[in-house]
């Protein structure tokens, strides 16, 4: 077994430990916008969960892209998703395909999401055992497209997410979701966005630079970690701000002016 990957600023902000532990049993929400996508954070967390030094499992619900898309990106980052899928460490649900097939059978959005939840919980139950200490991470890419699949029913999406969240308490698994902030920019009270922010233990905001586009800085990250637990009723907040630059095979994180 190889040594744990080194921690970068994002890992530290999320509360991961240098030994590879930390960060279990909570919900992480990534909010991005058209100018600056937050997909790279999902890729980073996916790679981290599937790293060779751990035996963690990922349940990936993709409403946005097919498997091949993630496989190409992660391959460049040094992670073979096909192999991980064969080893049962990655359970990939391609909702683009599943949804289409099931709708042909006349199922409603509620039926689809209920059935999908059944599959997720079954996968979690199979992977978790009292003797095994491996952690399970559920990743949803992305919530706004899930809402589209649910025929615009915000409540249905929130019900689904609530059930996924209940798994974090029941099985100690993590939930990571991506949502697009600017999709709701015209709404007065974006219920979905606000509810997600309330549910999340960690909120990561991916934004463009205030000063405009730059060649060597691609955007800024704000990580609000609400769930630094010192025990029940004793948690505290921590806010981290830093900038990033996306490269082909990795992402650089640095404080403003500290880029080497």
């Amino acid at each position: 077994m190889t040594s744990a990957p080194p921690l970068n600023l994002l890992d530290e902000a999320l509360g991961f430990l240098s030994g590879g532990g930390g960060g279990g049993g909570r919900m992480i929400l990534v909010e991005d916008c058209v100018e600056t996508t937050g997909a790279f954070i999902l890729h980073h967390l996916l790679k981290r969960s599937l790293s060779p030094h751990s035996s963690d499992v990922v349940v990936f619900l993709s409403f946005a892209h097919p498997f091949s898309h993630y496989d190409r990106i992660l391959r460049k980052m040094g992670c073979n998703l096909v192999m991980q899928r064969d080893n049962k460490r990655l359970l990939f649900f391609d909702m683009l395909m599943l949804d289409r097939l099931d709708r042909d059978k006349g199922k409603t959005s509620a039926d689809l999401l209920l059935a999908l939840y059944g599959k997720v919980q079954k996968a979690v139950e199979v992977c978790s055992s009292p003797v095994d200490t491996r952690r399970i991470t559920i990743i949803i890419d992305d919530v706004s497209l899930m809402e589209v699949d649910a025929n615009g029913s915000t409540n249905l999406v929130l019900d689904f997410l609530h059930y996924c969240c209940s798994l974090t308490a029941q099985f100690g698994c993590s939930l990571i979701t991506l949502n697009h902030d600017d999709v709701y920019s015209t709404m007065d009270r974006p219920t979905l966005l606000l509810q997600l922010e309330y549910l999340a233990d960690v909120v990561i905001k991916v934004e463009p630079l205030v000063t405009g586009p730059a060649t060597d800085v691609h955007g800024q990250l704000t990580v609000l970690n609400k769930g630094l637990q010192d025990g029940p009723g004793k948690s505290r907040n921590k806010v981290n701000n830093f900038q990033f630059r996306i490269k082909d095979s990795f992402v650089e994180y640095f404080y403003p002016g500290n880029r080497s």
Binding site: D159, Y163, N237, N240, N241, F242
Partner: protein, 380 residues
């Protein structure tokens, strides 16, 4: 003030009156603080009940937004014995399976595990949309606290916002109203996320409660620009503070507002009067902006000397109109006297010093003053 709220809730309601109710309004920016206040009050009420200081025999917690496991850990961390907690603490679990999805999946054999994994007494609610069922479940759990089923008990709902997502406002309001008017209930403690409800929703419940603490983010944060900077301790600390505003509705209809500051520390939540730093700052500002409504002795004497325009009229003397300047004849005489006197003094001083230059300068000044006495408009 938080202690006062706990005591009010502990004492309960009088015979034939509605039970005292507490609503905690929270916003996204203060969202963990609202939950901390809820936990704080819940654990205080628990200790009151355990020490038999309260009217109530036990607590029925309606868990909407947190798992029963969380509350079990909360009680453990506060030093309560979980093994004997069923005598005074019961949870109506609306978190694990609020819509019955898990039960359906279990029936079809898709999943196997439904247990929330908590060792406190838990009753599962599988349909939060049915408020009648919820109401009867709460009463059932509450009646278990006393043998005759007539003892008082506390009802705590951990998120009304979550309830409002499934049911209309009118139904939720009706449930809360019924709970308050029921003779066996003492208190309702509920958490409302203000930002998630429409203003009408909050108001509709606001009129039915007696105590409404609002949590406000720290004032210094409100105007903060979203700048990028490395994390610093000051910023971290500022996230752990908030203002605690309590609106109390008295029986006679009087509404009272109270403020306090709250801090979340490692040892737990702490309430402080709004004083310390803010008051010191206010005190240091006081002398700079001071003004008196009452005049001093000197100011009163000065005011008495002011000649008003209607004085000296009709007393046989010349009519004097006081407009801020003295009358010309009097003014001229006085001016000449003072000029000569001043010139003498200045000459005297200069001669004593022995500088001819100064004497010359004084003479020039004298001439200049005489020029000044001429009408300025004469040149025009």
């Amino acid at each position: 003030m938080a202690e006062w709220i706990c005591r009010t809730l502990r004492d309960g309601g009088l015979e034939g009156e509605h039970a005292p109710a507490l609503t905690i309004n929270d916003t996204i920016s203060t969202s963990p603080l609202g939950s901390f206040v809820f936990d704080h009050i819940l654990s205080h009420l628990s200790s009151f009940i355990l020490s038999q200081k309260s009217q109530s025999k036990g607590i029925v917690l309606v868990a909407m937004s947190r798992s029963p496991l969380y509350y079990e850990q909360l009680l453990k961390s506060k030093g309560f014995d979980i093994a004997s907690s069923s005598a005074w603490f019961k949870v109506l679990d609306c978190y694990t399976d609020p819509l019955g999805w898990k039960s359906k999946l279990m029936e079809s054999g898709s999943i196997w595990n439904l247990s929330p994994g908590s060792s406190v007494t838990v009753n599962l609610c599988k349909n939060v949309k049915d408020l009648d069922e919820l109401w009867s479940s709460i009463l059932e759990l509450g009646k278990e606290y006393s043998a005759d089923g007539k003892g008082r008990f506390v009802v705590a709902i951990d998120s009304v916002s979550e309830m409002l997502r499934h049911t209309p406002v009118s139904s939720v309001t009706a449930l809360l109203s019924n709970l308050r008017s029921h003779e066996e209930n003492t208190i309702i403690t509920c958490l409302i996320l203000e930002i998630l409800c429409s203003p009408e929703t909050t108001n509709s419940r606001g009129c039915r409660v007696q105590l409404t603490p609002n949590l406000l983010p720290e004032a210094s944060r409100s105007g903060e620009a979203p700048t990028i900077q490395p994390v610093d301790e000051q910023r971290v600390n500022s996230e752990r503070r908030g203002k605690f505003r309590v609106r109390v509705k008295r029986r006679n209809g009087r509404v009272r507002m109270m403020f306090e500051e709250l801090y979340v520390e490692k040892s737990g939540i702490k309430f402080m009067p709004v004083s310390s730093k803010d008051e010191i700052i206010a005190q240091s500002l006081v002398p700079k902006v001071q003004f008196n409504l009452e005049l001093s002795e000197k100011e009163r004497n000065d005011r008495a000397k002011v000649v008003l325009p209607f004085e000296h009229q009709g007393n046989g003397k010349n009519v004097e109109i006081y407009d801020g300047r003295k009358s010309q004849s009097e003014g001229k005489d006085e001016m000449q006297d003072t000029s000569v006197e001043k010139a003498k003094n200045e000459f005297h001083v200069s001669r004593n010093v022995g500088h001819e230059l100064e004497l010359l300068q004084d003479k020039n000044n004298l001439k200049k003053r005489a020029d000044d006495d001429k009408d300025k408009d004469e040149d025009l």
